[in-house]
């Protein structure tokens, strides 16, 4: 009797392990397939022979990327964009989250600022007014069009604000008694104890700006100014769209010439590497960050 219950229990457990591992594989294998394709010969790829192991292993696609000037130009634009956005985002998040973490009594005017932020989160002018603004500011085709509109990530400010308000008051009082001003208190007391929250929002900033292709698509009219994701996206886009966007024909021919499957796969792999490098570093933080940020009692 107890044996059979035990057996059933164990079978159930094996099933659960099997399902969970299968779900993980379903997430991983399609991604791995792209890696395998990038290391396979283009004949094998067009014959659809590549599964999880490269067929006719070759690094030819990667050596061709080395010579692709536009790829590296776009890569550089993306790196610059992420660096500028990250610096700007973190400074603004920290500066705004601290006063907002004070009560209405400690910081008169807090609720006005809060309402300005929440309304901006709720309502937006939309795609076309934003485009016209960037155009009128003469920022089309500049890195600022990719950096400045996202300067204040409101969700992240609120997340860090919640984290700051949970920091024990005594720490702050002690620093004030030692003669520190609010700016010193913020950077010497609050920032060091809030590393998990700050790492989480830094991850959001990096991932968001690295992955965004749409700002590049609407704010950059020349392919030479595309950030990396917009460039990769343009490899798949149909030619008519590009013609309509006013791309010149020499840029077009260079795009179509290089668009083949294993080369594109290699470009995708290289484009994902920067994210994979920071992912393990920040993974331990974002789980706490998300739980803190998503639920407000």
């Amino acid at each position: 009797m107890s044996y059979s219950a035990n057996f059933k229990d164990r079978m159930g457990r094996v099933c659960i392990y099997a399902i969970v591992i299968m779900l993980a594989l379903i997430c991983l294998l399609p991604l791995w397939n792209i890696v395998a394709i990038s290391f396979s010969s283009s004949e094998a790829v067009s014959a659809n022979a590549v599964g999880l192991v490269p067929v006719h292993f070759t690094t030819a696609a990667y050596t061709r990327i080395i010579d692709d000037a536009q790829f590296w130009r776009s890569f550089g634009i993306s790196i610059l964009r992420v660096a500028l956005s990250l610096a700007l985002n973190m400074i603004l998040i920290i500066l705004m989250a601290y006063p907002l973490s004070k009560s209405k009594r400690e910081f008169k005017g807090r609720n006005i600022y809060m309402n300005i932020m929440i309304f901006a989160m709720l309502f937006s002018g939309g795609m076309i007014p934003s485009y016209l603004l960037i155009k009128n500011l003469d920022m089309l085709n500049t890195i600022w069009a990719l950096v400045l509109p996202g300067a204040v990530p409101i969700f992240s400010v609120i997340l860090v604000m919640n984290f700051f308000s949970a920091v024990p008051k005594a720490l702050e009082e002690a620093a004030f008694i030692d003669g520190a001003n609010p700016l010193q208190v913020l950077f010497k007391v609050y920032v060091p104890v809030s590393i998990p929250a700050l790492a989480t929002v830094a991850l959001f900033s990096i991932v968001g700006t690295w992955n965004d292709f749409f700002s590049g698509l609407i704010y950059m009219t020349k392919i030479s100014n595309y950030p990396l994701m917009t460039y990769i996206q343009s490899l798949n886009v149909n030619i008519a769209d590009l013609l309509q966007a006013g791309t010149n024909s020499s840029e077009l021919s260079s795009l179509t010439e290089i668009s083949n499957k294993n080369l594109n796969a290699a470009k995708i792999v290289v484009a994902v590497i920067p994210l994979l490098l920071i992912y393990p570093l920040l993974q331990k933080y974002f789980v706490t960050g998300i739980v803190v940020g998503s639920v407000k009692e």
Binding site: I21, P30, M127, P129, L133, L275, S294, K296
Partner: protein, 304 residues
């Protein structure tokens, strides 16, 4: 004496300091969020770029009337709702099931590796994942190879108006289920273990424990997340659809955002595009405010 002086100084100055800390961020918001809000008045004009917002002629609700008369718009709104609702429903169910199952995994190394893997797709751009999806679902892709292996018909997933919406919903669930399971996992860990012990004493099976303890324990979070996701009901995911669709599936794949982009920006019908965008924003804000009220009323939590 000296200490007291500093303390008062700190107090007196902190108010001004706080305002100074807020100013840079608020300025960015005013320029890049609030100026475009003023820009919505182009929706009530026949906007001509050369004349600018102040020189263009006001035409009242012309573009809105035009929008509601278009045969496309009903289709676009219905596509948006179907795709968004499908993603919310199936995505939530998958995330809940996955978190319940993952919670049963006792071997630390397996649990950790599974988590690392399932969170990963969330962090990749749809630009990258679109190639993965196209690769798998194209006519000669692996999914069709499996279908033919079982003697079934080839399906042109990316070029069929029947299959495009399920494809969009399914691949979004695939990308996000792991990541959205994070909050549900946290909810499960906060359930009192004593309840499980008591149920175990009473001889409850695993399934009964899940049904009578785990799921009820997660209910507040499930409700809260569900209510919050309602606010996204008019954003069915621009990036994903833009990267996967083509003219053949406009009929089933066009959502409000892609429609605004194609008609308004690419087609340079700025005023019309702004009108459609404004329509979307207004419905969105109404939904969000109602969602916040619902959340306050039924879950004792609120979004903001």
């Amino acid at each position: 004496m000296k200490q007291r002086l500093y303390k008062t100084n700190g107090r007196i100055r902190s108010g001004t300091m706080y305002h100074m800390m807020m100013i840079p961020g608020i300025l960015f918001l005013l320029v890049f969020s609030y100026v475009p809000m003023v820009g919505v008045i182009t929706a009530f004009q026949d906007y001509i770029p050369a004349k600018g917002m102040f020189g263009s002629e006001f035409v009242g609700l012309k573009h809105f009337v035009y929008m509601f008369k278009l045969p496309d718009i009903a289709q676009v709104v219905s596509n948006t709702l179907v795709i968004a609702l499908g993603k919310i429903l199936i995505g939530t169910i998958m995330a809940i099931i996955f978190s319940v199952l993952l919670n049963e995994i006792r071997m630390k190394t397996i649990k950790k590796s599974v988590q690392t893997i399932v969170y990963l797709p969330h962090f990749l751009s749809w630009v990258v994942l679109a190639s993965v999806v196209v690769n798998m679902f194209s006519l000669d892709g692996i999914v069709n190879q499996i279908l033919t292996f079982f003697g079934l018909q080839h399906i042109n997933f990316l070029g069929s108006n029947t299959w495009f919406q399920p494809l969009i919903i399914g691949t979004d669930v695939w990308k996000e289920f792991g990541y959205s399971s994070i909050v549900y996992l946290a909810a499960i860990t906060s359930i009192d273990p004593g309840l499980y012990e008591a149920a175990g004493m009473d001889g409850a099976s695993w399934w009964r424990k899940v049904w009578h303890i785990t799921l009820p324990g997660m209910l507040p979070i499930i409700l809260l997340m569900g209510v919050m996701s309602l606010t996204n009901i008019l954003s069915a995911g621009f990036d994903q659809i833009y990267n996967l669709y083509n003219p053949v599936v406009y009929e089933s794949g066009d959502i409000l955002d892609t429609y605004v982009y194609r008609i308004g920006l690419v087609g340079r019908q700025y005023s019309f595009g702004t009108a459609v965008g404004l329509f979307k924003s207004v419905i969105g804000i109404v939904l969000l405010l109602s969602a916040n009220q619902l959340a306050k009323k039924y879950t004792d939590r609120k979004i903001f």
